[in-house]
């Protein structure tokens, strides 16, 4: 897939349609997000591990108010870009999405609801994919078990804010997690359970199930259990699945948030 993608991107670059291509570059044996501006550099393009590419796109679109970029996108990246666009955080007209699918191993690791973008430019998407239900074990617990489970998990929190920092959907300039009205400053672990609850609730209708928060957590807190439960509630209560359907209106989106 890598060679095919490189050929595809070389053509795209030659077309002159984009100022650069946002993708992963391999340097000294490690992958990093990069803006490819020269076809010769594409030899160093690589595909794994996953990085939050939508956040990179948002940064670069902000830095350059006019340029148009191509971006190599997995399913989660595209979902993030769509949801960001609904909130006016990225301008999809300035992005050319080059979709690639995830293989079964990657899809399983993320328990990804849809491990491919809407249009697959290169590669073949998984047929008959069904994601693991990561909320199942939790739903089976008694109420007191649930409390004990979260107490144990959240006690490990290092208050790094990594879950928020890594999240492609966390774009607020002033974050309520840092508001002393809700969460006492400077305490470790942060107050139970408000710190993690604020983040979870603020992700309702936003979380696109990329799993970056959980991967960024040094303490292995199963944040995707929380997020999955909220995604289920959103679907059940409002019939909304975030990141899918570019035209679908988000029921929890408010004008205030836009400001």
């Amino acid at each position: 897939m890598e060679q095919e993608l490189k050929a595809h991107l070389k053509k795209l670059m030659a077309s002159g349609d984009v100022a650069g291509i946002i993708a992963l570059k391999s340097e000294r044996g490690m992958a990093k997000p990069y803006l490819f501006a020269d076809a010769s550099e594409l030899e160093c393009l690589c595909l794994t591990p996953k990085y939050p590419m939508a956040s990179v796109a948002r940064l670069l679109l902000d830095e350059d108010g006019a340029a148009r970029f191509a971006i190599v996108c997995r399913g989660c990246d595209e979902r993030a870009l769509r949801e960001l666009a609904k909130r006016h955080q990225v301008d999809l007209d300035r992005l050319v999405i080059v979709g690639i699918p995830c293989d079964e191993e990657m899809a399983r690791e993320c328990a990804c609801p849809e491990p491919f973008p809407s249009v697959v430019a290169v590669g073949t998407k998984l047929e008959q994919w069904e994601a693991e239900d990561i909320g199942a074990a939790y739903r089976a617990m008694e109420l007191d078990e649930k409390l004990a489970f979260w107490k144990h998990q959240l006690e490990k929190c290092n208050k790094c804010y990594g879950c928020r920092n890594a999240c492609p959907m966390c774009f607020c300039k002033d974050c309520e997690l840092e508001n002393a009205l809700w969460v006492k400053h400077g305490r470790l672990p942060p107050e139970f359970p408000i710190y993690h609850m604020i983040r979870a609730f603020h992700l309702a209708g936003k979380c696109i199930a990329c799993g970056e928060c959980q991967r960024a957590c040094p303490s292995d807190i199963p944040l995707m259990v929380l997020n999955t439960l909220l995604r289920e509630d959103m679907e059940e209560l409002f019939g909304y699945v975030s990141g899918t359907g570019a035209d679908a209106e988000n029921p929890l989106y408010t004008k205030e948030e836009m400001q």
Binding site: G20, A31, Y34, Y51, V56, L59, E63, K156, C160, P218
Partner: protein, 685 residues
Amino acid sequence: MKYDNILTTCPFCGCGCKYYIQVVDGVAKSVLPCKEDPISEGHLCIKGWNAIDFVYSKERLTTPLIKENGAFREATWDEAYGLIASKFKEIKARDGAKAFGFFSSAKTTNEENYLMQKLARGVIVTNNVDHCARLCHASTVAGLAASFGSGAMTNSIPEVEDVDCFLITGSNTTEQHPLIGSRIYKAKEKGAKVILVDPRSIQLASIADIHLRQKPGTDVAWLNGLMHVIIKEGIADEEFIEQRTENYGEFKAEVMKYTPERVEEITGIPKADLIAAARMFANAEAASIIYSMGITQHTTGVDNVKSCANLAMLTGNLGKPSTGVNPLRGQNNVQGACDLGALPNVFPGYQAVTVPENREKFEKAWNMAEHIPESIGLTVVEMLNAAHDGALKCLYIMGENPMISDPDITHVREALDALEFLVVQDLFITETAEHADVILPGTSFLEKDGTFTGTDRRVQRIRKAIEPLGNARPDWEILCDVAKHLGSDQFVYASPKEIQDEVASLTPLYGGVTYERLDKEGYLQWPCPNAEHPGTVFLHNGKFSRGLGHFFPVSYKPPAEEPDKDYPFILTTGRILFHFHTGTMTRCSPKLNKEVPTGYVEIHPSDAEAMGIADGDLVQVSTRRGTIQIPAYVTRKVPEKTVFIPFHFKECAANMLTNPALDPIAKIPEFKVCACKVEALGESS
């Protein structure tokens, strides 16, 4: 537009997390975790995430300053160098090299530490060079070198995940070394046992199987007590003791005096808990001791360290994965600063200055006409004492802030003011720099190339991501320029890579470390003596660095100052997650400063109630050295009659209070115990 991610190493603690700096058109935008880095694995702590804030702080010093009539004025580099050269020459001609002192820096690169000690030894010709390791792990370097022959963390960070039983003491790991703390959680999930020995109920207490809350300063007693139980119950590793160690008999005679009853009397640790902990540790397959300042910062620091070494030998927990004696180094490059000879007794690679062949080797390499003194130089605290007494006239401080970090700040201020000439090289006009005659603007980790050595002996690159701000210059360039202005022709390097090549040629420990290999392999763990050597994941495999491990009999000695009727509380000090050391870097980060904007004193609810102190009240804390006013944090984290103050905050500086009493061998001050009193002021802060 140019967008790139530059891989570099974190400038805060000793974990050595590598991460990317996102750079757009020459401006650093943010930190991006590197998912393939073996230490961070894509995770960071709050300091790492916010590591670029201080670099762009408005407070950054970007031009040299010279003090005239009590006030600083901006100066050119040539003016600054000219003044330094003329004053240095004048003082050296009049008072000799012994009137000079050099504080190197655990924040700067290996290459810069090498140059600092080369400047001291090779140009001024004194061994008076030291750095803040004196205040943190000097007792480790001395103690483990004596017991094992090598004064560093024996095992590696990734191994922590597979430990079966931890003894964690004097390390608030989740706050001070978060990416090691997170691995303790991972090991616990896999079934590891956790024995925590700490007077404070730190975050790890929630997962501890046994938490022993010793009276501060009684570590030798409980360590001897654990070993007493292990020997008495016949669960020591006889085979290891027989084959790998010496002096067991003398050691055993000493520890057998420490019955659990006696230990309970000294330490306050219940007898039954001590016995349970001893069994748990000795019976584990792979048991690991993790310690930090709670062990080292005592007048018995070396004794404490030797006792930890004894316990690991007694149970055969050395020379194997996921075991060992693991001192966690507090600064990004404090391991490297020690390794590169920024110590008064050793050249790079711990080659003793007292050995004539070593001196000859370096004199020859540096093409010296004069001879390096055969006697060891002064330590950090001794240099300040010598300045106070008028014997030391000139001090060159790079990236250190003794006005906050050293014990008894009043004494430090008097010492700095007594100097004839003080040069400070730093990113900011620190509390120390305010006392300088010349301030040289150095650069942060983002603005230069070099290497740091993490706590597990891991040498890693830092890479220049942005140009130096204003007229600031990379510290290695400044040191070369100063040496050149003093007439040396031995400081000609095109880049830090060439400095490392010189280090490798003179330092067997780093003999195989090259930039080419670091680029290709990502890191190298010393010892790495030659180009073919893969580096060393854990030390003492099959044989100790010194041959046999040495059991030192250690007897308990009380701290230098104990509570009495005038000063009834024990004061203990330390760091917190959200700040770093003297706050120079973290207090100008909005996100970090928001979490904890000022200092506080942790006090137990029953003590607070007895004095009518409510949470948040301003209180007065005094010792025989000084007095501060500070908000109270009423919490059960501390035991009764013990208070804790983080030392980061100049406005309520813990080190106004601390005791400068030193360990007789390592010369480390007793930051962890002194006697204090707490008084209510009847005001809310």
